[in-house]
């Protein structure tokens, strides 16, 4: 054994969001199942954009003073954004007839 043992190697390779989402089976319904109810609330009233900070799939993105863009085809259907928006401004429906995510290891 060497005189001073090495500190354990804790380098963990975390995948990028893109790689993570690539592991999820997804069937595109063609239309977004997500939307905002009143765009001006997002653009003018909402300062925190909680939909953006809590989404585990980076679906929601917002530039200051604008309405968020919604990359619905990355949605994991976790429902967090629906509960998180304190303005109750998220339109959240299920993707129709079985489309959207299909998990194998949920």
């Amino acid at each position: 054994m060497s005189v001073s043992p090495r500190i354990p190697d804790t380098d963990i390779q975390n995948d990028s969001m893109e790689d993570r989402l690539y592991t999820v089976k997804y069937d595109d319904p063609g239309d977004s199942h997500l939307d905002v109810k009143v765009p001006s609330i997002c653009a003018d009233s909402c300062e925190t954009a909680d939909c953006v900070s809590i989404c585990p799939a980076d679906v929601w993105r917002r530039d200051d003073g604008e309405v968020p863009t919604i990359a619905y085809e990355n949605c994991l259907e976790c429902s967090s954004c629906r509960f998180a928006c304190t303005y109750d401004n998220v339109v959240w429906e299920y993707p129709t007839t079985g489309s959207g995510v299909s998990y194998k290891h949920g």
């Binding site: 804790t10 963990i12 509960f83 959240w92 299909s102």
Partner: protein, 463 residues
């Protein structure tokens, strides 16, 4: 169909399931009045209800939005089977591993202090009724058991609303053409994102203080076949559930991290308060990354590859926010009724989902047979472990929330420091270190007085 559950009948069950799904959904959508009850959602609660009704000789219709039951479902997870085992034979069920060790671990920024439990009994059947599973496999199998018993299952069909007639709930609307289906009773087993129940005014939307957000990864070890057995010290079908708390697990948020072993993969994830995710701007992705990189966690996951990433919310309002369970013509079960115990030490929802599905179905069967009433469901649930456990721990969540900085940040660090001190190898007498270690912990909890107060605040935990 005979009821011997050999491999081949299960395959038949799967075919039958598809045929029936095709028939019902596409060819002859008019099923008004054909069914004794419609069940929304083929998760654990829904399939338990369908199986119970079918075994009582009734005809339930089970409607699932996913391409198969379980396709939309995510949990940790450990499936708790005391009730399922009463409803059906678990031989042949797609179980991954039984839980042979539970480990609770406090993580500060750099340190770990852990307690491990390995009762010998857990290695013997029925293995404390605790098994890791994948919901994609298990929920499909469980729904097949209901179909074999006589239930009808339609997949790829989303219930979009409830039909009301003269004030009573009289069926469901679906996203299929001519998709209205009337039936005398509806069981809402749609999980915690209860769009149908909320839309029909049977329940309010939970506030985000009572919701946890969870992100999970299933990992495999492509370069090392023995990684799981070696790193978690497993023999045979034994597995582990590791639970992590404190700053090193979920940062400043209230919640925890977990690792569960499956057959040849591990499930790793974090689940924490959605309110904290929002106000502390702590994204699920970053939180998961930090947990996986903790010096006590990373070596367990070295050289792993992601098989699947997933996310989901957990309703954790417990007894306080439980909605009315019984409505005219409809019953709420499982996560739709908020039946999850999540208090740090326990994360249990699967057993409560199945138990509630069973009692709801029993109340409907008794009512149809003329010697019962729907309201007996609420009574039965109140007398069962479900409501009893939720009420028993109702105080805990609140109290932990108040003390969280102490419990999850200052105390873990103090305990880790104290252990380092206590076991320090130098030329001072042990007594010096013991005193210093004790002082370090006492200082954090506010002296002897503080320690006594803390013990009093949590004494019900061990009662």
């Amino acid at each position: 169909m005979t009821d011997d559950t050999t491999e081949s009948t299960i395959v038949d069950g799967a075919q039958l399931l598809e045929e029936r799904a095709g028939d019902a959904a596409l060819e002859s959508p008019n099923y008004d009045g054909e069914f004794d009850a419609v069940i929304v959602g083929a998760g654990l609660a829904g399939s338990a209800a369908a199986l119970t009704l079918a075994k009582r000789g009734l005809e339930p219709l089970l409607i699932e939005r996913g391409t198969y039951p379980g396709a939309k479902n995510v949990f940790g997870g450990v499936l708790y089977t005391p009730t399922i085992r009463e409803l059906t034979d678990l031989d042949g069920a797609p179980l991954e591993r039984y839980i042979g060790e539970k480990r609770f671990s406090m993580l500060s920024h750099h340190d770990e202090t852990a307690v491990s439990l390995k009762p010998g009994d857990w290695h013997r059947e029925p293995h404390n009724d605790s098994f890791t599973v994948f919901r994609g496999d298990f929920d499909e199998w469980f729904a097949e058991q209901a179909v074999e018993a006589g239930a009808t299952l339609i997949t790829e069909t989303t219930v979009t609303g409830l039909i009301r007639e003269k004030g009573a709930i009289a069926g469901v609307e679906t996203d299929r053409p001519d998709g209205e289906i009337r039936a005398p009773y509806v069981i809402l087993a749609e999980g915690g994102n209860s769009l149908v129940s909320e839309g029909a005014g049977l329940k309010e939307t939970e506030s985000r203080e009572n919701i946890a957000v969870a992100a999970k990864e299933v990992l495999e070890f492509p370069e090392n076949d023995e990684a799981i057995e070696d790193r978690f010290r497993l023999v045979g079908d034994a597995g582990v559930s590791y639970h992590y708390f404190g700053e090193g697990a979920v940062g400043e948020a209230f919640g925890g991290g977990f690792i569960y072993t499956n057959d040849d993969t591990v499930s790793v994830g974090v689940a924490y308060s959605l309110e904290d995710a929002a106000t502390k701007r702590q994204s699920p992705e970053e939180t998961l990354n930090l947990f996986k990189s903790h010096p006590a966690v990373a070596p367990l996951l070295k050289d792993a590859r992601t098989v699947e990433y997933s996310a989901k919310t957990i309703p954790e309002g417990g007894a306080e926010t439980m909605p009315d369970l019984v409505h005219d013509g409809a019953l709420l079960v499982g996560d739709t009724a908020g039946l999850v115990l999540n208090n740090g030490v326990h994360l249990e929802g699967t057993n409560m989902a199945v138990e509630s599905g069973y009692h709801a179905a029993a109340a409907i069967a008794d009512t149809i047979e003329g010697d019962g009433h729907l309201s007996q469901y609420a009574d039965a649930l109140e007398q069962s472990f479900v409501v009893q456990n939720l009420e028993r721990y109702a105080w805990l969540q609140e109290r932990v929330e108040e003390d969280r900085e102490l419990l999850f940040e200052r105390l873990p660090t103090a305990i880790a420091d104290a252990s380092t001190e206590y076991f320090e190898m130098d030329r001072k007498p042990k007594e010096t270190h013991a005193k210093a270690a004790k002082a370090r912990v006492l200082e954090t909890v506010g002296g002897l007085k503080g320690a006594t107060k803390l013990a009093l605040r949590y004494r019900k935990l061990v009662r």
